[in-house]
């Protein structure tokens, strides 16, 4: 789950990292009022994505009128597909140097990775391309945590204006925050050295591990939920992972891998999948909801149902779908492939209740569904 800057910075502040005085505003008048309280400010679009500056989403304002005009220009702007609904107004700082600091989950070392670069303000990957030594990396044993000595050691030899001890301390605090909030990424870019000598976090990127949300309830309320289409939201409410796509062949399968593969095979046979919908894992008892969801998409012209049961019993899934089918009686060409746990019972159920037999394999089922969609479009 992504957090906008205004929701991420309090996490830093709670762990002792200095952030600028700021106000979140949703109208130009609020922005003018905030400017009159703070003085010279930066007006920053709040969206859960980067590259705000390039998109024109960050402006400076020295008077209430300028702040009002800046907010009016930014509010409602589209940045990377997100409509700006609020701006963060922060006191403007005089910056001497910019650094980069982050902690993230690293799949290679299978532990936390602390990153630091003396080249702040820019994309850290671009910095690494310019100079391989520019981005320092320190893997951490999560059972012990980041020790100050490790943080100091990773900064050795960098041009950081003699601030090694101060920055090491900030890295330790950042690591503490990352652990406390189940972050998968917590990034400060830039970490600014101000003219007065203070180190301040001028921006914050915070992504919470989706699997950590259940133990971060209070904080996760401040995150930005994924943008979902109506059908995707319906799926989420029913505990089903549904992703709307632009084709006309409906896909219903169990397990993420098998569902993706069913989409791939539909495409391999010249069709375009209408959705991703998996009802595997704990969702395998939700066949009735799953069928309703797939059929609610007005674009679909045919349906492929592909089960290969391991944990998810195909008889239970088939029964759920047939229950909805008998109730809805849809006029929809449907092609089944059923194998694995419970398949004998599932096939018998199909014959008895729907009067059909499954196709011998997934390829045949996908091919038939693609053909039926093509026929319907003629």
């Amino acid at each position: 789950m992504n957090f906008e800057e205004h929701a991420g910075k309090p996490v830093l502040a709670e762990h002792g990292i200095v952030v600028p005085d700021g106000r979140l505003c949703t109208t130009p008048d609020q922005a003018a009022q905030a400017q009159s309280e703070i003085g010279p400010v930066v007006v920053k679009a709040q969206v859960p994505t980067g590259k705000r500056g390039k998109a024109g989403g960050i402006k400076i304002a020295d008077t209430p009128d300028e702040a009002r005009a800046a907010a009016a220009a930014i509010l409602g702007m589209d940045i990377g597909g997100n409509t700006v609904e609020s701006v963060l107004i922060e006191g403007r700082q005089t910056i001497a140097r910019e650094f980069y600091a982050a902690v993230m989950n690293d799949p290679v070392s299978k532990g936390p990775m602390v990153l630091f670069s003396a080249l702040g303000g820019m994309d850290v990957e671009e910095a690494a391309e310019q100079d391989a030594d520019a981005v320092r990396r320190q893997p951490v044993d999560i059972r012990r945590g980041l020790e100050v000595a490790e943080a100091r050691a990773m900064l050795a030899g960098l041009d950081i204006a003699g601030l090694g001890d101060d920055i090491a301390e900030i890295l330790v605090k950042l690591y503490g925050a990352y652990r406390a909030v189940d972050a998968e990424l917590l990034e400060i870019n830039p970490l600014a050295l101000l003219d007065g000598g203070d180190l301040v976090a001028l921006d914050c990127k915070f992504v919470m591990d989706d699997s950590g949300i259940k133990r971060q309830e209070a904080l996760s309320d401040k995150g930005t939920p994924d943008k979902l289409t109506g059908l995707e939201a319906e799926g989420e409410a029913k505990g089903l992972k549904y992703i709307e796509l632009d084709g006309d062949v409906g896909v219903l399968a169990n397990g993420a891998g098998l569902t993706m593969t069913t989409m791939d095979v539909v495409r391999h046979h010249g069709g375009v999948p209408a959705n991703f919908l998996e009802m595997g894992g704990e969702a395998y008892t939700k066949g009735t909801d799953a069928l309703r969801l797939v059929l609610d998409n007005p674009k679909i012209k045919s349906l492929v149902i592909n089960f290969c049961g391991a944990f998810a019993r195909t008889d239970v899934m088939t029964d759920g779908i047939l229950t909805a089918w008998e109730e809805l009686e849809p006029e929809m060409p449907v092609f089944w492939s059923v194998h694995g746990t419970g398949d004998v019972e599932a096939v018998a159920m199909l014959k008895e209740r729907l009067g059909i037999e499954p196709l011998p394999d997934m390829d045949e089922a996908c091919k038939a569904a693609v053909e039926a969609a093509r026929e319907a479009n003629r």
Binding site: N105, P107, V108, K110, G111, P112, D141, I142, R143, R179, D182, E184, D209, D210, S211, G212, K214, R215, K241, I243, L245, A253, N254, G255, A256, G257, L258, T259, M260, T261, M263, D264, V265, V266, R267, H268, P273, F276, E278, G280, G281, E282, C308, G309, A310, F311, A312, H339, G340, T341, D343, D361, M362, D363
Partner: protein
Amino acid sequence: MIVRGTDRVLIQGITGKQGTFWTERMQEYGTQITGGVNPKKAGTEHCGVPVYGSAKDAMADGDGFDVSVLFIPPLGVRDAAMDAIEAGAKGLVILTEHIPVQDVMYVLAAARERGCAVTGPNTAGGVTPGECFAGFMPAFNEKIFKKGNVGVMSRSGSLGTLICLNIVQAGYGISAFVGIGGDPIIGTTTRDAVTALDNFPGTDAVVMVGEIGGAMEEDAAEYVAGMSKPVAAFIAGGAAPAGKKMGHAGAIVMGDKGTYASKKSALEAAGATVMATPSHVGDILKERLG
């Protein structure tokens, strides 16, 4: 990470609905289950084996165990896994999905230090046909897990099951199946699983089932390049849109990272045959194994 018939297996969470159902299936198939864990039912018997208060008790008081299979809810996994690791487990199979990643990293750090091989999390487990299975796989279905000479690994349990079915339909059989799980951070990587299958007795070819997201297939390709046994691969998610998690937390293309094209070209350059659909696996095995 390939569980054998001689391994003693502990089931943490044995008394739950899924724990009970799959323990019975494992016992019927030949998995040597020596005990279960549920702190609230310590001292009782379940599925014909003793229930202990902890994995440490199971090791100290009972017949001991080599591998523990965890049927434990997400927020309980860290403590349960640490219990098993500290008890001296040689392997863990963690089936649970949606475990906080920082908990997973904690368990993996401890396991690495103690020399304990972790499979998962978010895996359906593994099958050694004719011997045993660990997890929730339809090992008992002979149309899918007939014994043979093809080693199979998969990030996805359902897709791995389908590939095994296709292999058996083509007249071959399975030497061992390793499900590694769909999370971004897991104990046994694609490379680890391919390496284990390459070295597993009676394996003449390896089938690798990957997914979009991450760089595990690219990493495994380095090992594949040095293999003498043929490798056939399928990568799921070629038709998936970028920037969306396709059901598995690890199955996401971000920018130009984790794409189908990157994995396909790395594996082909390493000498693997990458198939367009899983049903081609039989033809590829015929061509490469003769």
